[in-house]
């Protein structure tokens, strides 16, 4: 009588992919297979060279309008999305919604309809609510593409993919790697996406390290991680250390007694770093709280790849945006409209 609902993975796949498995939206890494993630990384590799060219633009999204819809403030992520769109020759609209329409009581759907009426081709969305990107993709009129630039505690797939890009650049691949995520997994959309990406790409083990207050319920089963409450034990032999940002409001929420104790137990110091594999790299999605998540010495040390992450972010975002626009052009073509740009295989 009541058939079980499709799983999150199946639903996410159905929402993001067209009938041929091309990427329509990029909302989450749930439901995307290894081949597609590798494809994103390979395309990003190709875009890395664009920054070194005399002309820093490719025409893949020429004639397209890309709107950055930021319902939550962000400087770095918005800037890299804007730059990525411009390098793809798109026209970019930046909308800081938290200070405009919704503050006047307009619903998200109203805002969306207004922008659709302006014939925007792609929305890059950041929102404080988990599931906001899913919601927008579900209600956006085809063929508008939606890219999730971070929603609530759920997903931040471009950040995760740029981290995968960085890991691959240093480690050559994913097989056999042991990766430690340290800190606030509970509230971290970055962590959720990274864990999904790492497991899909076939690492040997993902460890989630933090106090019980910051590890979500049934994390081992729900996310596919090994939970560790002791940093030293968790770091032993790992190839990659990803530190998660600790927000100050976690102290007020009663998740932690103090930043001091957190650093004492979970802060990464050079001494603790020596427990990891000799060639382990240290990553952080930024912005860093020095002296809370890690020592300055570690952040600026030779094992840190934090600044590389920022520059790789651009290439990954160009890859994802061009893939979604490419699928959109196929759709328009099928609907009998000539796309303005031919994307070929790019």
């Amino acid at each position: 009588m009541i058939t079980p609902r499709a799983s999150q993975q199946e639903q996410a796949a159905a929402l993001q992919l067209d009938a041929d498995g091309n990427l329509k939206h990029f909302l989450t890494l749930d439901g995307l297979d290894r081949a597609l993630l590798i494809d994103i990384l390979d395309r990003a590799e190709g875009f890395l060279g664009v920054a070194q060219q005399a002309v820093k633009k490719v025409p893949l999204c020429r004639g397209k309008i890309i709107a950055n819809l930021f319902f939550e403030t962000s400087t770095r992520t918005r800037t890299t999305f804007e730059l990525a769109a411009k390098r793809l020759s798109a026209d970019v609209l930046n909308l800081n919604i938290s200070t405009s329409a919704t503050a006047k009581g307009e619903t998200l759907l109203d805002t969306l309809r207004n922008l659709e009426a302006m014939h925007v081709d792609m929305f890059v969305v950041r929102h404080a609510d988990s599931g906001a990107a899913h919601f927008i993709a579900t209600h956006a009129a085809a063929p508008v593409a939606v890219i999730n630039a971070g929603d609530g505690c759920y997903s931040h797939p471009t950040q995760a993919m740029l981290d995968m890009f960085t890991i691959r650049a240093h480690k050559g691949g994913f097989e056999g790697l042991t990766v430690a995520l340290v800190g606030d997994v509970l509230h971290s959309r970055v962590a959720r996406s990274q864990i999904t990406a790492l497991n899909t790409l076939g690492v040997a083990e993902v460890r989630a390290i933090g106090p019980s207050t910051l590890v979500p319920a049934r994390a081992a089963e729900a996310l596919g991680v090994r939970v560790c409450h002791d940093l030293r034990a968790g770091l032993r032999g790992v190839d990659v250390i990803i530190l998660l940002r600790l927000q100050h409001e976690r102290m007020d929420g009663g998740f932690l007694p103090s930043e001091h104790e957190y650093f004492h137990l979970f802060g990464l110091t050079e001494k603790r770093l020596r427990l990891a594999a000799a060639d382990a790299i240290v990553m952080h999605p930024g912005p860093i709280n020095r002296g809370v998540e890690m020592d300055s010495g570690v952040a600026d040390g030779d094992r840190s790849v934090i600044l590389e992450q920022v520059s790789n972010g651009l290439a990954v975002r160009m890859a994802v945006m061009s893939m979604c626009i490419g699928t959109q052009n196929l759709w328009l073509h099928a609907a009998g409209q000539r796309p303005l740009t031919e994307t070929g295989d790019a």
């Binding site: 009588m1 009541i2 799983s7 999150q8 609510d129 988990s130 599931g131 209600h139 319920a217 994390a219």
Partner: protein, 436 residues
């Protein structure tokens, strides 16, 4: 169907050839049922000289008491943009429900006799279903001052309730329970520890962790039940737990009943079918409070129904306007439109061998009537002629066009239901007759 079903005096009606099931009297047999003057006149042979003005052919159908629903929000007064007493009692009639108890969280709350009388009056004018408003346990449901319960009882409130807002202050709750029991009033409590449940959206478990949604831990309900049981024992008050959702809380209820405490509980029908998995894909229609929990919880709730520990199944109907669910999941309003899926979901338990048909119908007729302390939900001569006649095998699909309720918000959209109401009679009047 006329806009006003209450017009005219009830006819003499014979319902012929149906399988009559009256759980209160343990009757399950093919026989006729005769009604006149709004009451049941006889089962089987018609009384001497009985001349029916109307005959209903119920061959192949089940004839049972009109359903009694312990929790259905009608949204009036105050939230008429979601639904009205007229729209929802009409849906209740289509669902075979003849009596429903609405929680006191209207605007204003049912904390004065005037609001209770308004609700009853609006329902009586329409005449599709009997509405019994639960009175507010505390003023404005704010959990600080107890209400004028004796006056609310006189105004027709069968029980007191703080709707789904837990009374934080245990001293206030203790006084409220004592005061209610002074007037023989039972109390409906939604067990939840406010500190643990506040801010939560879904069951704290696998799906919450995967979707990054704030969870409501099992312990929130367990603590609520533990506290309320302690107060029930201390005060001797008659406490009814509304909408249990966890295995642990259910076990505590069973233990308390075994010790002889005067406590009872119900469960929403959907909790016996759906689990947290329904939230996958950020399905706002599955945003419910109490949240859908695990398969183990669902199975424990079914076992408690089978064992007679939980004695009533309700709809926990919460109709919404479409906009209430058109937002990112955390911004949506909780609750589902559930009147019309109540009977099919209960009948489904029979097919899955949880209960036999008579016991299943008891959970939506005689048992909830007893919890409301009203002589309803039975078919004995002299009883009010509230009758539901349904086809146990008819199939229909839940959808915007099939639901009569103004609220189309249900995670069961698209599901096939087995069991469809053909006629509903309220106090001897036909208030619903299905086409075809």
């Amino acid at each position: 169907m006329p806009d006003n079903a209450a017009a005219g005096s009830p006819q003499a009606i014979s319902i012929r050839g149906g399988r009559v099931i009256d759980p209160a009297a343990n009757i399950d047999a093919v026989m006729d049922l005769h009604l006149a003057d709004g009451a049941i006149k006889a089962l089987g042979e018609a009384p001497a000289g009985f001349a029916p003005q109307h005959i209903i052919d119920a061959a192949g159908l089940v004839v049972c008491p009109g359903l009694v629903d312990l929790s259905a929000r009608l949204r009036q007064p105050g939230r008429e943009h979601k639904a009205t007493i007229a729209s929802e009692t009409r849906a209740a009639a289509a669902a075979g429900i003849t009596t429903l108890c609405c929680p006191p969280d209207t605007l204003p709350a049912v904390d004065t006799p005037a609001v209770a009388q308004l609700i009853r009056q609006l329902a009586e004018e329409r005449g599709y279903a009997r509405v019994l408003p639960a009175g507010a346990l505390t003023r404005g449901l704010e959990g600080e001052h107890i209400t004028e319960m004796a006056a609310l009882k006189l105004a027709g409130c069968p029980v007191m309730s703080n709707a789904d807002r837990p009374v934080r202050n245990t001293r206030v709750l203790r006084r409220a329970l004592e005061y209610a029991s002074t007037y023989g009033l039972g109390t409906f409590l939604h067990p939840a520890d406010a500190y643990l449940s506040e801010g939560g959206l879904v069951h704290e478990g696998l799906v919450a962790t995967q979707l990054g949604l704030p969870g409501i831990p099992e312990a929130a309900e367990v603590l609520g039940v533990a506290r309320d049981l302690a107060l029930a024992e201390q005060t001797g008050a008659r406490v009814h737990f509304r909408g249990l959702s966890t295995a642990r809380a259910t076990a505590m209820l069973a233990e308390a009943r075994a010790r002889g405490l005067p406590v009872s509980a119900d469960v929403a029908a959907h909790q016996l079918w759906l689990t947290e998995d329904a939230v996958a894909g950020f399905s706002a229609d599955a945003h419910l409070i109490p949240p859908l929990r695990t398969a183990a919880d669902r199975d424990a709730l079914r076992a408690a129904i089978a064992a007679g520990e939980i004695t009533a199944i309700c709809s926990d109907h919460q109709p919404h306007e479409p906009d209430a669910k058109l937002n990112p999941f955390p911004q949506t309003e909780p609750g589902m439109s559930a009147l019309e899926t109540l009977l099919p979901l209960v009948l489904g338990l029979v097919r899955e061998d949880v209960l036999d048909l008579c016991d299943a119908l008891a959970c939506v007729t005689a048992h909830p009537a007893a919890i409301l302390d009203r002589p309803l939900g039975r078919l004995q001569p002299g009883a009010v002629a509230d009758v539901c006649i349904f086809d146990p095998d008819a199939r229909w699909v839940v959808g915007e066009d099939t639901l009569v309720s103004r609220g189309k918000n249900t995670p069961l959209r698209g599901a096939e239901m087995i069991g469809r109401v053909r006629w509903t009679l309220l106090a001897g009047r036909v208030v619903h007759e299905a086409k075809g």
